[in-house]
C-alpha cells in the first residue's frame, strides 16, 4: 500500500523526482571520478616504497572507520552546505576501496614478469602502462565496483547538509512521518545500489574473465 502511495507520489511529481535522481547520480558520478583520479595515481605513487604503501593503507583504513555522517559534519563548518561538501565526503568514501584494490593489484604481479619486462628493456613507465596496470585492471575494477555502490548508498546522507539527491525524500519522509515519501527515496536508492553492483559485476566478467582463459 505504502509502496503504491510512493509510486503515485512519483507519478504526480515527476519533475521533482527526476531532479533528485539526477542530482543523486551526478553527485555520485563526480565523487567516483574524483576518487579514481586520487586513488589510482596515489597507488602508483606509493607502490615502489613498502613503507609508503603500508602507511597509506593504514591511513586510508583509519579514515574509512570514520562514519560518513561524521565526515559530513566535519566538512560543514569548513565548506558550508550544498553539493561541494557532500562530494568531499563521498570522495573520502570512494578512495579507500579503489586505492587498496589498486595497490594489491599492482603489487601482486608475478615478480618474474617484472624481471622479464626489465630484462628485455622496458622503462619503469612502460612497465607501469604495459604490464602493471593492465594486469592490475581486474583488481582495480573490483575496487571501483565497491566504491560505486558505497558512493550511491552514501549519497543519501548528502541531504543532511543540503546536498540534495534522493536522500531528500527520506529526510522529508522522516520529518513529516510520511512513510510513503520515505520510500520514494529509499527504494530507488536501494535499486540503484543493487543495479550498480550487478551491472558492474556483469561488466567485470565480460571485460576480464575471457581474457585470462
Amino acid at each position: 500500500m505504502i509502496l503504491l502511495d510512493a509510486l503515485s507520489w512519483i507519478g504526480s511529481h515527476p519533475a521533482e523526482f527526476a531532479a533528485a535522481l539526477q542530482q543523486h547520480l551526478l553527485m555520485s558520478a563526480i565523487s567516483l571520478a574524483i576518487g579514481l583520479l586520487i586513488a589510482i595515481p596515489l597507488a602508483v605513487l606509493v607502490l615502489p616504497s613498502r613503507l609508503g604503501a603500508g602507511l597509506t593503507v593504514g591511513l586510508v583504513n583509519a579514515v574509512r572507520t570514520i562514519p560518513s555522517l561524521a565526515i559530513l559534519a566535519a566538512a560543514l563548518p569548513i565548506l558550508g552546505i550544498g553539493i561541494v561538501p557532500s562530494i568531499v565526503a563521498l570522495v573520502v568514501l570512494a578512495v579507500p576501496p579503489i586505492l587498496i584494490n589498486s595497490l594489491i593489484g599492482l603489487r601482486e604481479i608475478d615478480p618474474d614478469l617484472i624481471d622479464a619486462a626489465t630484462g628485455i628493456g622496458m622503462r619503469r613507465a612502460q612497465i607501469l602502462w604495459r604490464i602493471r596496470l593492465p594486469l592490475a585492471a581486474p583488481s582495480i575494477f573490483g575496487g571501483i565496483r565497491t566504491a560505486a555502490v558505497q558512493v550511491i548508498a552514501g549519497a543519501t546522507l548528502a541531504s543532511f547538509i543540503g546536498g540534495g539527491g534522493l536522500g531528500d525524500f527520506i529526510t522529508a519522509g522522516i520529518a513529516l512521518m510520511d512513510y510513503s515519501r520515505l520510500l520514494v527515496g529509499a527504494v530507488p536508492i536501494a535499486l540503484l545500489a543493487i543495479g550498480t553492483e550487478l551491472g558492474m559485476a556483469a561488466l567485470e566478467r565480460r571485460l576480464f574473465l575471457e581474457k585470462t582463459a
Binding site: D110, D112, L113, D115, A116, A117, T118, G119, I120, G121, M122, R123, Q126, R130, I131, P134, L135, K211, T212, A213
Partner: protein, 308 residues
C-alpha cells in the same frame, strides 16, 4: 664477444663477495654454460651482463663496448633475455609477446609483423598460435615463445637463466637439442645458467664452473671431463664423468671399415655413450654404423669405445 674482466659483486651488507673477480672471454657465436651449486654466483654473473645487477668492480664488455657506460635500458634491448619461468606477459597474445622488443625499438607494424612470423617459424610454432594467450600454451610452447621474444630484435647476445627448468624431462632433451640448433643457426653468443651438468654438456661449447663466487674452471666440456681443475670440480662432475665424456663423442670418430660381423645397428651420429649402452644391452662386441638410408658405413667395437 663478451668479456668479463675481474668482475666482482658484493651485495650491501653481505660479508663476502657473491661474485669475486671473475674473468672470462666468450668468443662470438659460442654458448657458455655457467654452472655450480646454488649460491655460487652464476645467476648474479649473468644478470650483471645486462645490468639487472650492477657490478661492484670490474669491467664487462659486449662486442667491445663497456656495458656499464650508457643507459642500461638501451643496452637491454640489444641483449636477448630468457628466464626459467618464461615471463611471458599473460595479457598479451603470442604475437604481442614476440613483438615486445621490436615495439620498444619503434619498428613499424609491417616489419614487426613479418618478424613475428619469421620467429614463429624459427622456433617451430604454427602461425595459428599468433592470437593465442600464454595460458593456452604448453610449457614447451611457452618456452619457444620466450626464445622467439628474446630473438625478435636479432640481438647479438642472448642470456638464458635456467631456460629449461620448468620443462618436463622428456620434452627438455628435445628442446635443448632444438634450441642449440637454432642458436647455432642464428649465430648468437649465448650465456646460460644451469644447475644441470647434462644440460651444460649438451648445449655448451664452454662450461664455467663456479663456487662461492669464484670461477673454478672455464673450459670445453671435453677438457673439463678429462682434466678437472680441482677436487671440487671433479666431485661436481660426479663419479660417472668418464661415462659422460663418451656422450660428447660420436660413433663416427671411432669407426673402422665394415667387416660384415653381425651386431646391433646404430645410426651415424650416435654418441659413444649410447653406443656402449646398446652394446651392453645386446651383449654384443661389435655394432654396425648405418647411414640414414640404411647403408652400412663401418664397424664399432666395444674395445674401441673403452679405449676412447
Amino acid at each position: 664477444m663478451i668479456e668479463l674482466d675481474a668482475v666482482t659483486k658484493t651485495f650491501p651488507g653481505a660479508p663476502t663477495a657473491s661474485v669475486n673477480a671473475v674473468s672470462m672471454v666468450i668468443p662470438e657465436g659460442e654458448t657458455v654454460a655457467l654452472i655450480g651449486p646454488s649460491g655460487c654466483g652464476k645467476t648474479t654473473t649473468l644478470r650483471m651482463i645486462n645490468r639487472l645487477i650492477e657490478p661492484t668492480a670490474g669491467r664487462i664488455r659486449v662486442a667491445g663496448h663497456d656495458v656499464t657506460a650508457g643507459d642500461p635500458v638501451t643496452l637491454r634491448r640489444t641483449i636477448g633475455y630468457v628466464i626459467q619461468n618464461v615471463g611471458l606477459f599473460p595479457h598479451m597474445t603470442v604475437a604481442e609477446n614476440i613483438a615486445a622488443v621490436p615495439r620498444l625499438l619503434g619498428w613499424d607494424a609491417k616489419r614487426t609483423d613479418a618478424r613475428v612470423d619469421e620467429m614463429l617459424h624459427l622456433v617451430g610454432l604454427d602461425p595459428a598460435m599468433r592470437t593465442r594467450r600464454p595460458a593456452a600454451l604448453s610449457g614447451g610452447q611457452r618456452q619457444r615463445v620466450g626464445v622467439a621474444r628474446a630473438l625478435a630484435a636479432d640481438p647479438p647476445v642472448m642470456l638464458m637463466d635456467e631456460p629449461f627448468g620448468a620443462i618436463d624431462p622428456i620434452a627438455r632433451t628435445r628442446l635443448q637439442d632444438e634450441f642449440k640448433a637454432i642458436l647455432r643457426r642464428v649465430r648468437k653468443t649465448v650465456v646460460m645458467v644451469t644447475h644441470d651438468m647434462e644440460e651444460a654438456l649438451r648445449m655448451a661449447d664452454r662450461i664455467a664452473i663456479m663456487r662461492n663466487g669464484e670461477l673454478l674452471q672455464f673450459d670445453t666440456p671435453a677438457t673439463i671431463l678429462t682434466s678437472p681443475a680441482d677436487p671440487f670440480v671433479d666431485a661436481f662432475l660426479g663419479p660417472d664423468r668418464a661415462y659422460r665424456r663418451l656422450g660428447l663423442l660420436t660413433v663416427d670418430n671411432l669407426m673402422t671399415p665394415a667387416s660384415g660381423t653381425p651386431g646391433p645397428a646404430l645410426p651415424s651420429g650416435t654418441t659413444l655413450r649410447e653406443a656402449l649402452s646398446t652394446l651392453i644391452t645386446a651383449r654384443a662386441d661389435t655394432a654396425r654404423i648405418v647411414a640414414p638410408d640404411g647403408t652400412v658405413l663401418g664397424d664399432l667395437s666395444r674395445a674401441a669405445i673403452l679405449a676412447a
